[in-house]
């Protein structure tokens, strides 16, 4: 119901942040965010307003939660071998929860 798009803060000028969304820069208002925002932070944008500072550690936390769901309580594993292999590769490739700065 609400199109929310995450992006990385490039610059902050008062109540306005310049935010990079996959390479497109857009000015976003900071009036309603509940934490101070500095360049390098990630924010969730909705209709031109940042509504949340996304803690980088929570990205890792979410992915870990999904992997927990995958394992299931019983430890049953329905994943086909190829899927398990691909998954292992992708987990290794994205091991650091904090995205490297480019």
């Amino acid at each position: 119901m609400c199109l929310g798009v995450p992006g990385r803060v490039i610059a902050v000028d008062g109540m306005i942040a310049t935010v990079d969304f996959w390479g497109v820069k857009k000015q976003v208002r900071l009036d309603v965010i509940d934490e101070p925002v500095t360049p390098g932070d990630y924010v969730l944008n909705h209709v031109g307003y940042a509504i949340r500072r996304i803690p980088p550690e929570d990205i890792g936390e979410t992915l870990a939660l999904y992997d927990e769901l995958l394992a299931g309580k019983s430890g049953a594993d329905l994943m086909a071998d190829d899927v398990r292999g691909e998954l292992a590769a992708s987990v290794t490739a994205s091991a650091s929860p904090r995205p490297a700065n480019d």
């Binding site: 119901m1 199109l3 310049t18 969304f21 996959w22 497109v24 820069k25 909705h46």
Partner: protein, 344 residues
């Protein structure tokens, strides 16, 4: 609703179902008749243009009116659009050597002369690229407020020995796109300037008869149908081709080339790049045994470097386009009306 049945709405000009219905009910009903010769392509075919047999050649004609806001946008302007639109429509019928174009200009009182000159210069350059000339024209000026700036109409004439109708897809044909999708539509939207986006998207507007000529040269009769995915984008073009040929199309979303900045603007505004216009691209149906050769020929052309095979014609699900997203499948919905930024 009462109003939309009594009056023409913007949706009816947006290239989708509503437009086809308006054309059918108002124009085809009264104007379409039997063709002079079997095989001629007339109004009822609703193809990119008309084709009539003259001796051992086909005379292909098409006409197109152009309005765009803003008139000048990154990558082009209304003048370039007017030439490319008509040249490309001829090329889509297989007629890649246009004999001439006509140009009609309707101008709003007060329009800047410098802008008019800039548009004329742009027309000259686009004509040179396409290898065609404006041979006749017409100019009208209307009162302030009676139109928004300027309207251009171009018509084109060409001869070809083989016509390719847009209804020729067959089960098993591969679908080829000659480059990235969504560039023009999102560039124009971003250029309207009220979205506070810092991005320089460029329209792909260009005459592509040269590229089509190169593809036809290696394809033989291996190209079964062509369409330029203008209004309504790839989604509309594929629906129209599938509908006319009564085949299904399975489209591999991940194979469709989309520029990262176009994708990003699409994500921000909630607009699918597959639903917006291209002005320098072709969607082709290619016989499977010719697909790789045609792809190589298109990629060798400067306007086709990012061409890709993106789908296959199937017997199941006739007249529909099934999108394989890599996560699952869905039916590709045909856009109705101009795509608008959305919040949900």
């Amino acid at each position: 609703m009462i109003v939309s049945r009594d009056r023409v709405t913007l949706k009816m000009g947006a290239g989708g179902h509503a437009m086809r219905r308006l054309i059918g009910e108002v124009f085809l009903e009264r104007l379409a008749g039997p063709e002079m010769l079997a095989g001629d392509i007339g109004l009822a075919a609703l193809d990119d243009g008309a084709a009539v047999r003259i001796g051992d050649q086909w005379l292909v004609t098409t006409t197109d009116s152009h309005v765009v806001h803003p008139i000048f946008f990154p990558g082009g302007d209304i003048g370039r659009l007017a030439v490319a639109g008509t040249v490309n429509d001829l090329a889509m019928m297989g007629a890649t050597e246009p004999v001439m174009l006509t140009l009609a200009v309707v101008i709003e009182e007060g329009f800047a002369r410098a802008d008019l000159e800039r548009i004329a210069e742009s027309i000259r350059i686009a004509c040179a690229e396409a290898g065609v000339r404006i041979m006749t024209g017409d100019t009208k000026v209307m009162g302030k407020g009676e139109l928004d700036g300027i309207i251009l109409n171009t018509a084109g004439v060409a001869l070809t020995s083989r016509v390719i109708p847009d209804r020729g897809l067959q089960v098993g044909d591969r679908i080829l796109v000659t480059g990235t999708m969504g560039d023009h539509g999102l560039a124009v939207l971003a250029a309207r300037g009220n979205l506070s986006l810092e991005v320089e998207l460029r329209s792909d507007v260009a005459p592509i008869n040269g590229l089509v000529r190169a593809a036809l040269a290696v394809a033989g009769d291996g190209i079964t149908a062509m369409k330029d995915p203008t209004r309504g984008g790839l989604a509309s073009a594929l629906h129209e081709m599938a509908d006319k040929a009564r085949v299904g199309i399975l489209l591999e979303e991940r194979a469709v080339p989309i520029r990262p900045d176009v994708r990003a603007v699409g994500e921000l505004l909630g607009i699918d790049p597959l639903h917006v216009a291209n002005e320098g691209k072709v969607v082709m149906g290619v016989r499977p045994d010719r697909a790789e050769a045609v792809l190589a020929a298109v990629r060798a052309h400067p306007l086709g470097r990012e061409a890709a095979l993106v789908g296959t014609c199937i017997a199941d699900s006739p007249r529909r386009v099934v999108l394989d997203t890599g996560f699952g499948r869905r039916l590709l919905i045909e856009p109705d009306g101009e795509p608008l930024p959305r919040i949900c």
